[in-house]
């Protein structure tokens, strides 16, 4: 029996057809993956399932009945819960308040039944193996727990169908494992899982069947046992992706280098020393919370270091702000493009050219903005309606390329990248890796922070493993380096010789 059936679902946003006659069904109690590049229509489909969007045409059947979900609340009432990619939470409220937000248990005159809610919350948290107090304030929780809180929310409403949109984007390997154990357990209790992800290993680990969408169209549904990751990737992108490791040759490391010596900013990181030569790509691998983002932010002057030194090109540098860093050729591509990278009130022209103008301390707005930004869009193959469009009209992958391009416009000597492919699709990821390699081949020193192990192995010449604010070891990336060897170093117990 089908738990969910999509029949000829179509949805357009203005001229953009996000979904075109998509039909497939999801079996009761099955774990069903929906994969596809960004812009393929996965999120739109999920939003229709969760009641936050109405389809233009077509029919959605839940169980055996045709349903019309006008609001997220309708979906919840039908037992459909959605775990968003973005951490939708009220950071200022308690865990319990977040779990029950919008559907609080109330007594007479709308009085909140706090004790009952707290008890239910405690029970659900235990089911999820979450060592969190129901009274804890959410902004004090690690990101991973906030994600699981959304699962808790769905459980609180007895959802029989749980839709997850890229739930592991900001989770570490350990946290992902935790989430998967919870999902496995839910599966055994008969909950239907709809799992949207870019990460094929996860999809193959969890799901029974895999549906591929491309350009808003249904491509295929395969049974896991009969499909290979390569087939799925090809169905997703509609072209053959060159194999990993087919990297262009790079010149010998140049004189240019970034050298960091005994840099500390307690409690984030301590005693960090490393060097990146020009033409080299060095990755810092570490779990979330190991102090990696803070390290990069300190390097460009967003925070002050307690002690230690940084040398660029043989000169000691202390940057007071990202502007100083950029003027000296050091650029940081931040992790969170929505919050730290893009201006959604400004068009792409203004977005792309702001850092360069700031670094150059330009007074006037350049009269050649249009040509300069069109060049950047073309050069980095950013798909955008025009340079007058705002970033919200772009897919996640193209937004990320805009964030990259706005720093590349400066032609940096040292490029720091924080999770450069977080939440982007396979095609964009491949493009972004190409851009980083191209920059390195021109002699820039590239330092990539990533918790995506395949990415680290595909991109880096050397890998620094960071744990609890310290660098625990270094691995030269060769064909023999495996994910296991890196992970072992990242997760090994403190005190052990690294």
């Amino acid at each position: 029996m089908a738990a969910i059936e999509f029949r000829q679902i179509a949805k357009s946003f203005g001229a953009v057809e996000a979904l075109r006659d998509v039909s497939f069904s999801i079996g009761d109690g099955e774990a069903h993956a929906i994969v596809g590049e960004n812009g393929a229509g996965k999120s739109t489909l999920l939003k229709i399932l969760a009641g936050s969007l109405r389809p233009d045409r077509g029919e959605l059947r839940v169980g055996d009945t045709s349903v019309s979900l006008g609001r997220p609340r309708d979906a919840l009432a039908r037992g459909i819960g959605l775990v968003h990619q973005e951490m939708l939470a009220f950071p200022n409220l308690s865990v319990t308040a977040n779990i029950f937000a919008g559907r609080e248990l109330t007594g007479r005159f709308g009085r909140l039944r706090e004790d009952e809610m707290r008890a239910r919350a405690r029970e659900i948290l235990a089911r999820l193996h979450l060592p969190v107090s129901p009274d804890a304030q959410v902004d004090r929780l690690p990101l991973a727990y906030r994600q699981l809180l959304q699962v808790a929310r769905a459980l609180a409403f007895d959802c029989r169908i749980l839709a997850l949109d890229e739930p592991t984007t900001s989770l570490t390997a350990g946290e992902t494992d935790h989430l998967f154990r919870v999902l496995d357990q839910l599966k055994t209790t008969g909950v239907t899982l709809v799992y949207v992800s870019h990460r094929l290993p996860e999809v193959f680990r969890l799901c029974d069947r895999i549906t591929v969408l491309r350009d808003g169209r249904f491509v295929s549904t395969s049974v896991r046992a009969e499909a290979t990751p390569d087939q799925i990737v090809q169905a997703m992108v509609g072209r053959v992706i060159p194999p990993r490791g087919a990297q262009p040759a790079r010149p010998a490391p140049s004189e240019m280098q970034l050298r960091v010596e005994r840099l500390s900013r307690r409690p984030c990181f301590e005693d960090i020393s490393f060097r990146v030569d020009g033409g080299e790509i060095v990755a810092i691998f570490g779990l979330v919370g190991s102090g990696r983002s803070e390290l990069l932010e300190t390097l460009v002057g967003l925070h002050a270091a307690d002690s230690g030194e940084m040398h660029v090109d043989g000169t000691r540098r202390v940057f007071g702000s990202p502007r100083d860093a950029a003027a000296a050729g050091v650029a940081l591509v931040p992790e969170d493009r929505q919050r730290q990278g893009l201006f959604f009130n400004l068009n792409l022209r203004h977005n792309l050219l702001l850092p360069r103008a700031q670094a150059q301390r330009a007074v006037l707005v350049s009269g050649r903005e249009k040509r300069a930004s069109d060049d950047l869009l073309k050069r980095w193959q950013i798909k955008a309606p025009s340079s007058s469009a705002t970033p919200d009209s772009l897919s996640g992958g193209n937004q990320q390329k805009v964030v990259l391009a706005k720093w590349l416009a400066l032609e940096p000597k040292v490029l720091l990248l924080d999770e450069p492919t977080k939440g982007v699709d396979v095609g964009a990821k491949y493009d972004i890796h190409g851009i980083v390699r191209q920059l390195a081949s021109k002699g820039a020193a590239c330092l990539v922070v990533s918790s995506d192990l395949p990415e680290v192995l595909a991109l880096a010449d050397r890998i620094l493993v960071m744990r609890a604010g310290r660098i625990r070891g270094e691995i030269a990336a060769t064909a023999e380096t495996t994910e296991e060897s890196v992970m072992r170093m990242a997760a090994s117990v403190p005190g052990e010789a690294a």
Binding site: S321, N345, Q358
Partner: protein, 323 residues
């Protein structure tokens, strides 16, 4: 190039034109008498009174675009007015020196707001609420309740810079400042940075914008512009009194919003804000001419604000949906 109908200021102009057309029709005189609303003298009167709001609204628009809010302009107008009036009438300073001192009082208020917001990280609402009280209080202390009759002390044929007649001077200053700041906001990196900070403060910081400098500069500019309004009030309307311009801050903010500024920051225009003050200026001028409408004046102004902003929202939503 932006398509013509996408220029937000045009809809503000359209509302203004409609408004003038309505009052022209509604107040059309019978029997060949001259039109009480549509005549050159009344037009100048509207411009003269609106310019007090208009000059300050330039600063308000810039603050709002930067993601902040300024509650001080009404009080700063009064303070700059009494400082100018007091020094000119009582202390017999030259007009230029008195006006300079008036502007300096506005500069001081702007610097204080900027320091509270940037150095002490106070929310702009609270910081400028405090400065509003301080400025108003200072105005009362300076005057000790007196009234300075500037127009009485001013030569009858006074002209701005020896050229511009008294009545024309403040509208002219408003237009000049509006054009200047419109250019600063659209053609200079400083303006770009103001939009960036208002749109996404964190991204602005990561992009190398000196967020603190930008925030400080907008409050200082708003303080000085409000003081220009105050000097204009003292010189052009000839009055210096501590309780003048009470409540102007809300009219000024409303004008900026009607002109397209979003209180969420990152959106708006200087020209729009000035046009917004003209919309209210016409209302304030024409409504009292309608018999019985006097008591409805504030109510109508309130309704107009809401209607225009709701229309703006609807247009924005439709545009977003069509992307």
């Amino acid at each position: 190039m932006k398509k013509l109908w996408e220029v937000r200021e045009l809809s503000t102009v359209a509302i203004l034109v409609l408004e003038v057309a309505f009052f022209t029709w509604y107040l059309w005189p019978g029997g060949g008498r001259s039109h009480p609303f549509l005549n050159a003298a009344n037009g100048l009167l509207i411009l003269k009174y609106s310019s007090i709001y208009g000059i300050a609204s330039i600063g308000a628009a810039i603050v709002i675009i930067s993601g902040g809010i300024d509650l001080a302009p009404g009080a700063v107008i009064a303070l700059a007015g009494v400082v100018t009036g007091g020094l000119f009438v009582d202390a017999h300073w030259t007009l230029a020196a008195s006006a300079g001192a008036g502007l300096a009082s506005g500069l001081a208020c702007g610097l204080l707001s900027a320091a509270l917001i940037v150095l002490f990280r106070l929310p702009p609402f609270i910081a400028t609420l405090g400065v509003m009280g301080i400025a108003r209080g200072a105005a009362f202390i300076v005057t000790e309740g007196r009234y300075f009759d500037v127009s009485g002390a001013l030569p009858a044929d006074w002209r701005l810079a020896g050229v511009v007649p008294l009545d024309w001077s403040s509208p002219l200053v408003m237009v000049a400042l509006a054009l200047m700041f419109q250019l600063l906001m659209t053609r200079f990196q400083w303006g770009r940075a103001v939009f960036a900070v208002g749109g996404n403060e964190t991204a602005a910081q990561f992009s190398g914008v000196s967020v603190g400098f930008v925030q400080a500069s907008v409050y200082v500019i708003a303080g000085v512009l409000a003081a220009v309004s105050g000097v204009a009030l003292a010189v052009v309307q000839g009055q210096g009194k501590a309780d003048l311009a009470t409540g102007y801050e809300l009219d000024i903010i409303a004008s900026a919003v009607v002109g397209g500024a979003s209180l969420a920051g990152g959106r708006g225009s200087v020209i729009g804000a000035v046009l917004g003050t003209l919309i209210f200026g016409v209302l304030r001028n024409a409504l009292p001419q309608i018999p019985g409408a006097t008591f409805y004046d504030r109510l109508i102004v309130g309704v107009v604000v809401i209607v225009i902003v709701v229309m703006d929202q609807l247009i924005l939503q439709r545009r977003a949906a069509s992307v």
